[in-house]
C-alpha cells in the first residue's frame, strides 16, 4: 500500500518532464536533424575509410557492421542521456534546491523519476522510430535478425541508463560544492565521448588502453549494449560485460548515497 502511494507521489515529476519535452518537440526535431548530420559525416567518413583499404574488415568490423555500430551507438547515447547533473546544478544555482530539500520527498527518488520522464520521452518518440529503422537496416545488411540479441540489447541499455543516471547524479552533486559547473561538465563530456564508444569502437584503441577503458563505467553505457546488439559479445564475454554493468550500478549508487549524506549534513549545518 505504501509503495503504491509513494509511486503516485513521484509520478507527477516524470509526467511533468515528459509534457515539457513534448511541447518543445519542434526544437528537439531540429536538434536531432543536426545530430543526423553528424551521423552523415560519420557515414561518409567510414565509407571512404573502408574504400582506402584492401581489407574487408577493420578490427573485426565490416563496413556494414561499422555503419550499424555508428547508428546504434548514437541511438543508445540518446536513450541513456539523462542529464540530471545539469538539472541539479541549475537548482543549486537558482536556489530552488533549498525548497526541494525541505519537501518530504527523497531527492534521489525525485531525480530518478525526473530522469525517468526524460527517458520516457526519448523512448517513446525517438527509440521506437530509430530502433525500427536500424533493425530494418540491419536486416538488409546482415540478412537476419536475432531476437535474442535485441532483447539482450534492451536489457543492457536499461542497465546503461541506470549507470548513467547514478554517474550523472553523483557528478551533479558536485555542484553543491562547485558553483559554476559548466567548464567541468564540458571536460566530462569530452572524456565520456571518447571512452564510452560513442566516438569509435573501443576495439580500435591499442590493447592496453582497451583493457583500461573496459573497466571504467563509461564503456558500459554505450559500447556494451551496442556490441551486444551486433552480436559481438557472446557467451562468457557477454556475461562478463553484463556483470560489469551491474557492479558499476552498485558502486555508483553507493558513492551517490555517501556523497548525498555528507553533503546534506554539511548543508544543514551551514544553513543552506
Amino acid at each position: 500500500m505504501k509503495k503504491k502511494s509513494q509511486f503516485k507521489a513521484y509520478l507527477p515529476f516524470a509526467t511533468n518532464v515528459f509534457q515539457r519535452l513534448i511541447s518543445y518537440k519542434a526544437n528537439v526535431i531540429i536538434f536531432l536533424f543536426g545530430e543526423f548530420m553528424m551521423l552523415a559525416t560519420s557515414y561518409y567518413l567510414w565509407r571512404a575509410i573502408y574504400k582506402s583499404t584492401s581489407n574487408t574488415a577493420i578490427n573485426g568490423f565490416s563496413l556494414n557492421e561499422m555503419i550499424i555500430y555508428v547508428l546504434m551507438s548514437f541511438l543508445t547515447s540518446l536513450m541513456i542521456s539523462v542529464d540530471i547533473s545539469y538539472d541539479i546544478s541549475k537548482e543549486v544555482k537558482d536556489g530552488s534546491i533549498a525548497i526541494n530539500l525541505i519537501k518530504p520527498i527523497s531527492y534521489e527518488k525525485r531525480m530518478m523519476f525526473q530522469a525517468f520522464g526524460n527517458v520516457m520521452y526519448n523512448f517513446v518518440v525517438i527509440f521506437i522510430l530509430g530502433f525500427t529503422s536500424i533493425n530494418i537496416v540491419f536486416y538488409k545488411y546482415i540478412g537476419s535478425l536475432s531476437i535474442a540479441n535485441i532483447l539482450l540489447y534492451i536489457i543492457s541499455t536499461m542497465l546503461g541508463i541506470l549507470i548513467n543516471f547514478y554517474f550523472s547524479y553523483t557528478f551533479g552533486l558536485l555542484s553543491f560544492k562547485i558553483t559554476n559547473m559548466w567548464g567541468l561538465s564540458q571536460i566530462m563530456q569530452s572524456i565520456v565521448q571518447l571512452l564510452s564508444g560513442a566516438l569509435i569502437p573501443i576495439l580500435f584503441f591499442p590493447r592496453i588502453v582497451q583493457k583500461l577503458i573496459t573497466f571504467l563505467p563509461f564503456s558500459s553505457t554505450i559500447y556494451t549494449p551496442t556490441m551486444i546488439y551486433l552480436g559481438k559479445l557472446t557467451g562468457i564475454s557477454l556475461i562478463k560485460a553484463l556483470s560489469i554493468q551491474i557492479i558499476w550500478i552498485v558502486i555508483l549508487a553507493v558513492i551517490a548515497k555517501l556523497m548525498w549524506n555528507t553533503l546534506v549534513k554539511k548543508l544543514t549545518i551551514l544553513g543552506g
Binding site: 531540429i30 571512404a48 575509410i49 567548464g183 563530456q189 566516438l199
Partner: protein, 263 residues
C-alpha cells in the same frame, strides 16, 4: 570607424576584468574545448592505425586540414559568441530593444558584448596541428606562404561569422532560432575532411550554399598542393566577401522586420 575601435577596446577591457574574476571557469572551459578537439585528433589517429591513407590523403595531410579548419572556427568563436544568445534568448526575452535606443550600430553592440576566450582552445589546437603536420610534410613555409595562410584564415573566419549571422538573424522572424543555428553549425564538421569523401550533393552544398568548405578544406588543400591558388585563395576571399554582404543584408532586413512588427 575609429570610434568603434576605441569602443571595442573599452568593451574588451571590461570583459577581461570580469574574466579575471572567473579565472577558474575560463581555464576549465579552455581545457574542455582543448579536450574536445583532441578527441577528434585521437579518432583520426586510431583510424589511420588501420589504413594507409584516406581517399588519397595521408595522415599528416588530413591532420593539416583538420587543424587548419579549427583556427577560423576558433577565431569566430572568440569574437562572435553572442550571436548564439541572439538566436536563443535575446529576442525571445525582449532584450533587443536596448541596443536600438543607443546611438551605436546594434550589430556592433551585440558582437562586442561578449568575448569568449575558450575559443582560444580551438585556435591553439589548430595551430599546433598545422605546425606538427607542416613539419612532417615538407611544406615550404616561406614568409609569403605564411602571409597567405594568415590571410585565408582571416577570410575563413569571416565566412564563419557570416553564416552564423545569417542564421541567427532568422530570429527576427521566428523569435527562437538557436536550433537552426546549431544544425547549421554541425555542417561545419564536414569541412574538416577532404571533400572527396562526400557525394556531389553534399560537397555542392558546402561549397556554394553554406560555404563551410572554404573555411578549411579549400585553403588547406591549396597549401598541400592539392588544389589551385584560384580555389584555395582567390575564391576563399571572394566567398568571404560575398557571404558577409549577404549576411549583413539579412541582418538589416531582420531589423526592419523587427521594427515593423514589434517584439
Amino acid at each position: 570607424m575609429k570610434r568603434y575601435f576605441k569602443l571595442y577596446r573599452q568593451f574588451l577591457k571590461q570583459y577581461i576584468k570580469s574574466l579575471i574574476e572567473y579565472r577558474a571557469d575560463f581555464i576549465l572551459g579552455l581545457i574542455g574545448f582543448i579536450l574536445i578537439q583532441l578527441t577528434g585528433v585521437i579518432f583520426i589517429k586510431l583510424v589511420f592505425n588501420n589504413i594507409p591513407n584516406l581517399s588519397g590523403w595521408n595522415f599528416y595531410e588530413l591532420l593539416f586540414i583538420y587543424g587548419f579548419a579549427q583556427i577560423p572556427r576558433g577565431i569566430d568563436h572568440v569574437f562572435t559568441d553572442n550571436l548564439w544568445l541572439l538566436s536563443g534568448n535575446i529576442i525571445v526575452q525582449g532584450q533587443f530593444d536596448k541596443y536600438l535606443i543607443r546611438p551605436l550600430n546594434p550589430l556592433f553592440q551585440v558582437i562586442a558584448e561578449r568575448f569568449q576566450p575558450d575559443g582560444f582552445g580551438e585556435i591553439v589546437i589548430g595551430i599546433l596541428l598545422v605546425t606538427i603536420s607542416c613539419s612532417q610534410l615538407d611544406i615550404n613555409l616561406t614568409f609569403l606562404n605564411v602571409i597567405i595562410m594568415v590571410f585565408t584564415i582571416i577570410c575563413a573566419s569571416f565566412i564563419y561569422t557570416a553564416i552564423k549571422l545569417a542564421v541567427s538573424s532568422i530570429a527576427f522572424w521566428i523569435k527562437f532560432a538557436q536550433s537552426y543555428l546549431y544544425m547549421t553549425y554541425q555542417l561545419s564538421n564536414f569541412a574538416k575532411y577532404p571533400m572527396a569523401i562526400y557525394p556531389k550533393m553534399i560537397s555542392t552544398l558546402l561549397t556554394f550554399v553554406i560555404p563551410f568548405a572554404f573555411t578549411g578544406y579549400f585553403p588547406g588543400a591549396y597549401f598541400l598542393g592539392k588544389t589551385s591558388f584560384f580555389y584555395g585563395v582567390m575564391l576563399t576571399l571572394l566567398v568571404s566577401v560575398i557571404s558577409i554582404f549577404v549576411a549583413y543584408f539579412i541582418w538589416i532586413q531582420g531589423i526592419k522586420r523587427y521594427e515593423s512588427s514589434g517584439s
